[in-house]
């Protein structure tokens, strides 16, 4: 596609604010997977993460006029998604969790046959990924947010500073501390 036909995010939101719904669809397609990756690492649940991303897109639709060109569009939408994810985590903490693993008296173990033969490397990779995801979940919320945005979403320090609304120096310090904590947590898993 020629460069002149590719609209920037800010141009798309401006067109959407004027009533162009196709611009909205384009924005959704650009950000749905990026936000999914961000929110999933936050809440560790694909169904919940997709619901939160949908909520973000609905908010984008209903509150489009709240966006002002002072900040980048990506900053705005990541802020919405991050706030919704944090709210969901707080609700999760308040809910009473009842365990479903109430086995019967016989307590039989069920062995499910494996469908595919996975290689040792793939299994090891999944294990590392699971360990990493668990280590991320153990981080405090303010460390988790910045390390996901920096090391997984690969956003700049300046943009992260605007999304989480803290000074640049604080962002760098939190990212450093978060990486140290992750490194220590992963050493314990070995």
């Amino acid at each position: 596609m020629a460069k002149e036909f590719i609209f920037t995010d800010e141009e798309l939101i401006a067109r959407f604010q004027q009533g162009d719904e196709q611009a909205y669809v384009e924005l959704v397609n650009r950000y749905r997977d990026r936000l999914m990756a961000f929110v999933y690492r936050f809440v560790n649940d694909t169904t919940q993460a997709e619901d939160i991303v949908q909520d973000t897109m609905v908010k984008l639709y209903t509150h489009r006029h709240f966006y002002k060109e002072i900040a980048k569009f990506s900053t705005w939408i990541y802020t919405i998604a991050g706030n919704l994810a944090k709210t969901e985590l707080r609700k999760k903490k308040r809910r009473k969790v009842t365990s479903l693993s109430q086995m019967g008296t016989d307590d039989r173990d069920y062995d499910l046959p494996a469908r595919d033969e996975e290689s040792d490397a793939e299994i090891q990779g999944q294990f590392t990924e699971q360990r990493l995801q668990s280590a991320i979940q153990e981080l405090p919320l303010h460390f988790r947010t910045v390390v996901i945005l920096r090391d997984i979403q690969e956003l700049s320090y300046e943009e992260i500073s605007k999304i989480v609304d803290v000074p640049l120096g604080t962002v760098k310090s939190r990212i450093n501390r978060a990486r140290l904590q992750l490194q220590k947590a992963l050493i314990e898993y070995r």
Binding site: A37, E50, Q54, V58, Y61, E129, L132, N176, Q183
Partner: protein, 185 residues
């Protein structure tokens, strides 16, 4: 450099954001502390692992579910707008409260108008025809000095507004007081 300073600089070192002098000090600390070098290597690997994590994508039904939700939102918005009749943008409750406040303000303000007296004219009220024929008497206030002057300038006593014409006080011979230049005596 101590351990805390070293830890604070790990991310900057990995991302090549240290000045030359700080970089040298950092590397000197690493050379003298083997566990510090291991920590830096371990953190580099962690960052690489984070970047290489599997990408999680939305499901194929994402767009259709989103369209359904937006359609529902639009219906809800349309029905809530129908239910709520507004008067100049205000809900009925706020419109009535605001109107009462404005009327109360008008009545209070009228009380402060001088000469409004006991009877407060109701806007739009018309007086009976008999009262409308003769204009109300105008009482002109005159300062004490003015009365004398009006008597002076009145051509006839009847012209004066005073009930009685008061003569001038010092009606006397001013010749003794005023000396004209021509008769210097």
């Amino acid at each position: 450099m101590d351990r805390y300073q070293f830890e604070d600089l790990i991310s900057d070192y990995i991302e090549n954001n240290l000045s030359l002098s700080k970089r040298k000090a950092f590397e000197a600390y690493m050379d003298s502390h083997s566990e510090a070098r291991r920590d830096v290597k371990s953190i580099r690997e962690t960052i690489t692992a984070l970047k290489n994590m599997d990408t999680v994508k939305t499901s194929d039904a994402f767009m259709s579910n989103l369209r359904t939700r937006i359609a529902r939102e639009n219906i809800q918005l349309a029905s809530s707008q129908k239910r709520e009749r507004t008067f100049f943008g205000f809900t009925p409750l706020y419109a009535s409260v605001f109107s009462l406040m404005v009327i109360a303000l008008i009545f209070t303000g009228i009380q402060f108008i001088p000469g409004s007296g006991d009877s407060v004219p109701i806007p739009g009220e018309r007086l009976p025809m008999a009262e409308q024929t003769s204009p109300p008497p105008v009482v002109k206030y005159q300062a004490p000095n003015e009365r004398a002057s009006s008597a002076i300038f009145a051509e006839t006593p009847e012209d004066s507004l005073d009930d009685e014409v008061r003569p001038l006080r010092n009606k006397g011979n001013f010749d003794s007081r005023i000396q004209l230049v021509k008769n210097p005596q």
